[in-house]
Symmetry: C2
Subunit: 341 residues, 2 copies
Amino acid sequence: MADEKLTLDEIAEKAGVSRTTASRVINNRPHVRPELRQRVMRVVGATGYRPNPIARSLAMQRSEIMGLVIPRSTHALFDDPYFPSLIQALAKTCNRHNYTLALFLFENEADEEQLYPRISKQGLLDGIILQVGEINDKLASRLMQENFPVLVIGRPKDVPDASYLDVDNVAGARKAVAHLFATGHQRVATITGPLATTVGIDRLEGYHQVLQEHDCPSDPALIAEGNFTRGGGYQAMQQLLPHQPDAVFIASDTMALGAMDAISEAGLRVPEDIAIVGFDDLAPAAQTTPPLTTIRQPIAQFGRKAVELLLDIIERGPYPPRRILMDTELVVRDSCEVHAG
Amino acid sequence: MADEKLTLDEIAEKAGVSRTTASRVINNRPHVRPELRQRVMRVVGATGYRPNPIARSLAMQRSEIMGLVIPRSTHALFDDPYFPSLIQALAKTCNRHNYTLALFLFENEADEEQLYPRISKQGLLDGIILQVGEINDKLASRLMQENFPVLVIGRPKDVPDASYLDVDNVAGARKAVAHLFATGHQRVATITGPLATTVGIDRLEGYHQVLQEHDCPSDPALIAEGNFTRGGGYQAMQQLLPHQPDAVFIASDTMALGAMDAISEAGLRVPEDIAIVGFDDLAPAAQTTPPLTTIRQPIAQFGRKAVELLLDIIERGPYPPRRILMDTELVVRDSCEVHAG
DNA sequence: ACAAGGTTTGGAAGCGCTTCCAAGTTTAAG
DNA sequence: CTTAAACTTGGAAGCGCTTCCAAACCTTGT
């Protein structure tokens, strides 16, 4: 294996060709006589030469690095396996496409201000995958305005031409709540995500829709807002308990864990006293007692798709905006038995 | 805010100075008359100019990007909040030092082979933080051999001159096991991490040491190997149960969750029948019933320190190797009451 | 008033690569 | 055998920045 840094010129010289020709063979381009190509290849093999990616980036005006930015994430990032799974899926796909994934985590607006220049300006990043948080996330708009290739994960609001990839949260929530009704439950409550996020709103919307279809007026007392953390689920469930729901649709598995804490603390049982359907189907869902019935997000595909969409935007420009909703799937486990009543 | 891409030359021209001078003021270097400095600053402000980081990298032979590589991580990464916490701490510190963090996740040797060229060769990365997995992780050796700035997280074996940062696992395990004895337990078992990792070995070593100090021969039947996942903890506990330990030191909180599943499934109670001490003190530890007594790793400091060490290595070279063990702290909660017997 | 030393300034080279272009060489076709 | 149409090849100009160096300009002390 090589040691000292080699340059293309040195390779070219050793192979007795011009820099241009050497470049051609290294980039596997046509217009090189097979014999020469071989000669260069041999030198490359022998020396362990690898082109300097920075120089290449400068010349090609493309870095093959994409950024992943996750704003306002502290607690959820610690608490919810959604993010690790997503990050892993993205990193894997990036690498498969010979891209590098750079990570930007913001905790607050100050971070955002400070980091903004680093992610936005021409050069380092070819594009950005932005996990959208709050509804009015300015970040997406700012980046779009600067004509920066952006793919939003989640459905942004007030960002007209944004391309985004999201799970069909309304449909997913509908599946969950419909299942609760189908298993004979009547008083179906919900623990929502933060209602300042579209994901929170959409899952609540699905809940409302199904209630309406069952001629069930929605009762504000049966709706509690959570924050996608276990602690948040716990507190929300405590609010709900006095109103005696017989089932709860909970907008994330992690919150479901918290809710189950609250339920068992109150001396009640899942699913006998209260049925539960969660959302996400990440590792913890299968490990609760009882195992959680939940809505599966195809998170690996999700990561793959996200990278591919961004690549496409980088390649072919932002118009027309790409907008994709991915389907979810109801995974039936034991937290939601058929109801006797 | 600017839109089209500006170059240093354009700034220089607009300010009526040479490119060199413009560069000086942008990099805040001396030898510029205050008046000129102002003039350039004003133009920069007005145009929103930001230097192209790639070009700068090429000229300075430094990219201000560091890599984080986590090999063989699939299951644990999904399952254990240790990694998200670590990643977050690292990303944050990087940003504070104006560095960008690039993520490389390997799932298997094939990935490693495929990605190796991308991370190793001159250019893109100034240095690498390597989360060490298996004992014989070739990756660290390879990178060291290529004279690449590397900081290992965890204690590598068979990599002579590696700089590393680790938690003092032996001492931590000692605290845990000592606490178990101090609370009156006699038959203390352990669930280890993978014994092909130094962290697994070290925590077991601490266990052995304390047993020996209590004139307690270590009984192989009281030692079960886990894999840092919840499922692994569950299985290991099932192995242990027939041998009736009255306490278990479990090498990670995540495994402790699994062990508690097994214990309650067997109709036993924590801490009355079996006391438990975990390791990590991440979010889930405080949320179990009963809350887990555990060993706290200072993971945020850990991330900070890691980045700073790597920066130091980049700056001042790899010698002498830096080797730092960080202290842990016993966090007493309720999984380990004073024992009646 | 003048030399010695310091500060400011910009020209030009260079970081390592891609790529345009023109010149040279083959091949195919007429 | 000629001419057009390919294909090969390398020179040279860039990508946008830093930095060496020499020239020009100020100080200051004597």
